[in-house]
């Protein structure tokens, strides 16, 4: 039969508590143990056997004589008594009435022999043997050292009992504590598994113990899962919603082409299909890129100087920017070391920002690429002198497919900034839209290397 983990944990705790107590008990025991008690036992047994033999040979008279001879007037600890079945003293020295009960043959025992001084309050080692109708009780009161040894032995015995008890209690407590904390975590995991992604594990000790650390990790993971699931939902929603209109346009054009009588008209309608499909393809690829980058690991990063990345991109775009009659400046600040980047995605994100500026801010007449170290990290900025984005509209501008009303008339599916934001997040950074006084300064802010 398999026992539950909790039970095993409790058993383990109990066993460990017991083992540690037993070990200390054992050490104490061996430390104090000497053979004083053992010697007393030997003497008592020998003396008892000697007197019993005397009784067998000579009966009570011989025994009485032997007891008298063995008595030592200076030694008031000696017990040499013949007692009756109820413990009353018949002959010799010993308690008037012994408190030892029942009176049976005893090779050796330790107990308080009587109820009156000097026999009370002190234990004696003694033996009891039958002699005729009576009993012979021989032995001696324990001296101080022997008495201490007895006390210690008793304490040791007690402490074993106590150890067992504390072991059990500690085991149960540990199990209960661990079990409760684990159950709390398990319950959250269960709920999340059932689809409630908003559940989080409560932090009870300010994150100082291992359970809290586990809970924090778990919560961080759940945050990420919730984000990804939310994004996935957003992607499918926007797909369904926003691909419908270009598809409808496509369908209308195809229909017009198939119905056109005049070959020239048909060719014109057919030619219109290609840019429409191309733009849809671009939208799809970008969308895929965004959701992919949100879930991507960092294993595709290469260490590259941001300055190099910007210079390469500037080289590609310089002619197009000049062609758009914009003054083009590249301003690469000092002190930005090479860092791990996804070269393609980072380039594409910056390219999107440049494309946006070309599309919406060409009238401003200037475009600048900047690389700078700022207190909050490394900024890769595309700045223009165009109309900019109102602070109130900036969040909307980043939202997927969120094209500002003003820009609805120009082509592009409006995914540009969301891709930039996704790429920034992939690098642990963010997208910042700032006022360029006038114009827009869009920056990818990366954490400092």
């Amino acid at each position: 039969m398999r026992i539950s983990f909790t039970a095993r944990l409790a058993l383990l705790a109990i066993t460990l508590a017991l083992l540690s107590s037993l070990a200390s008990v054992f050490l104490i025991w061996t430390g104090i143990h000497n053979d004083a008690i053992a010697a007393l036992r030997r003497d008592t047994v020998e003396q008892a056997q000697g007197l019993v033999a005397v009784y067998r040979h000579g009966g009570f008279p011989a025994l009485s004589q032997a007891i008298d001879e063995a008595r030592d007037p200076d030694d008031d600890t000696l017990i040499l008594a013949v007692i009756d079945a109820r413990g009353r003293l018949v002959m010799g020295v010993g308690p008037q009435v012994t408190t030892v009960q029942p009176i049976v043959k005893t090779p050796f025992a330790i107990a308080v022999p009587g109820s009156k001084p000097p026999w009370a309050h002190r234990e004696a080692g003694f033996a009891i043997h039958r002699v005729g109708r009576y009993w012979l009780m021989t032995g001696r009161l324990l001296d101080d050292w022997e008495q201490e040894q007895r006390t210690i032995a008793r304490v040791v015995g007690l402490s074993i009992l106590l150890a067992i008890a504390t072991g059990i209690v500690a085991g149960l407590l540990v199990t209960r504590f661990v079990g409760r904390r684990l159950t709390r975590i398990a319950r959250v995991v269960e709920r999340v598994g059932d689809g409630d992604f908003s559940r989080r594990v409560e932090i009870v000790a300010d994150g100082r113990d291992a359970f809290d650390r586990l809970a924090q990790r778990l919560n961080a993971m759940l945050d990420r899962i919730e984000l990804l699931v939310g994004e996935l939902r957003a992607v499918t929603d926007s797909l369904a919603h926003d691909l419908r209109s270009p598809l409808a346009r496509l369908r209308a054009r195809a229909e017009a082409a198939s119905l056109a009588e005049d070959p020239a008209q048909r060719d014109a309608a057919l030619a219109g299909l290609l840019p429409e499909t191309d733009s849809m393809m671009r939208t799809l690829t970008t969308l895929l890129e965004i959701s992919r980058s949100a879930a991507m690991g960092r294993d595709r990063f290469v260490t590259i100087a941001p300055a190099t990345l910007i210079a390469e991109l500037a080289e590609l775009y310089a002619p197009a920017i000049e062609e758009a009659n914009m003054a083009f400046a590249v301003d690469i600040g000092e002190g930005v070391p090479p860092m791990p980047l996804h070269r393609e995605l980072m380039s594409q994100a910056l390219a999107n920002l440049i494309d946006n500026a070309l599309r919406h801010a060409a009238a401003g007449g200037a475009l600048a690429l900047r690389l700078a170290r700022s207190p909050d990290g490394v900024r890769l900025t595309v700045a223009d002198r165009g109309p900019g984005i109102e602070p109130a509209d900036r969040e909307e501008a980043v939202r997927r497919f969120g094209r500002l009303d003003r820009a609805r008339s120009s082509p592009g599916a409006g995914l540009g900034l969301s891709l930039v934001e996704a790429v920034a997040r992939l690098h642990g950074g963010r997208l910042a839209l700032d006022d360029n006084h006038p114009g827009l300064a869009a920056s990818i802010v990366l954490p400092p290397p």
Binding site: L284, L288, R292, E312, L316, A320, E344, G416
Partner: protein, 230 residues
């Protein structure tokens, strides 16, 4: 001799479209619809080029390509895929494909890439590196990195020179914008603007201004071609 192309594509419509288009371009085309058959056919070693879908039933396109390469078949391969993100393209190229094209694609793009791969495979190895390229009246000295047309020197910027060199190495062939972005700038994404066209426009002005005949031609719907006037 007619060159043979193996098309491994499980979508019947795409396969037929490819077979028809490549057939019209003068190639002999054989198609099959799964990776195992593709591997079997390719192992015969009679094909000059393999065009394969990435996601195939039976044996995945990249795995098939790996097996073909392991069998010692060196025919160039072009992978077609519906997976169009930057990383998918780079993965495909790393897996041993010579080129990678995303679906849906324009036929112009495909045929330009097919021709480029054919040309590359035919170029005899061990011929030594050429030191000059000549296209009609245009001459490029690859060692001195100088360009002359009709004997008159033309001054080019570093990037203009590398674009011209790439075009000249594919003289007579169509070179698409994405091919140039991939090979010259090493970017695998699609910039929204006409960045490549502007570069080409500048190069063209330097090559053609003051001369009576065009040499850098625009191929509508596909790309550019460097070739002497007909």
């Amino acid at each position: 001799m007619t060159r043979k192309i193996l098309v491994v594509e499980d979508d019947a419509a795409t396969a037929a479209y490819l077979a028809k288009g490549l057939g019209e371009a003068g190639y002999r085309v054989e198609t099959c619809d799964n990776g195992r058959d593709g591997l079997f056919l390719a192992s015969e070693g009679v094909f000059d080029l393999i065009v394969a879908d990435r996601m195939l039933p039976g044996l995945d396109g990249l795995a098939m390509l790996g097996a073909i390469r392991a069998a010692g078949i060196a025919a160039p391969a072009l992978i077609l895929s519906a997976l169009g993100t930057v990383d998918d393209r780079i993965d495909g190229l790393r897996a041993g494909a010579d080129d990678y094209l995303c679906k849906p694609f324009s036929f112009g793009e495909l045929s330009a890439r097919v021709e480029a791969l054919m040309r590359r495979a035919e170029r005899p190895a061990g011929d030594g590196k050429p030191t000059r390229l000549t296209v009609g009246d245009l001459e490029i000295d690859l060692l001195a990195r100088t360009v002359t047309r009709q004997g008159r020197p033309i001054t080019l910027g570093a990037r203009e020179y590398s674009i011209l060199e790439y075009l000249a190495r594919h003289a007579g062939q169509v070179v698409t914008r994405t091919m140039m972005l991939e090979k010259i700038w090493n970017y695998h994404f699609d910039p929204g603007s006409n960045v490549v066209d502007v570069h080409i426009g500048r190069l063209r002005r330097k090559l053609e201004d003051g001369f009576d005949s065009p040499i850098l031609h625009t191929v509508r719907g596909a790309g550019y071609r460097l070739s002497p006037p007909a």
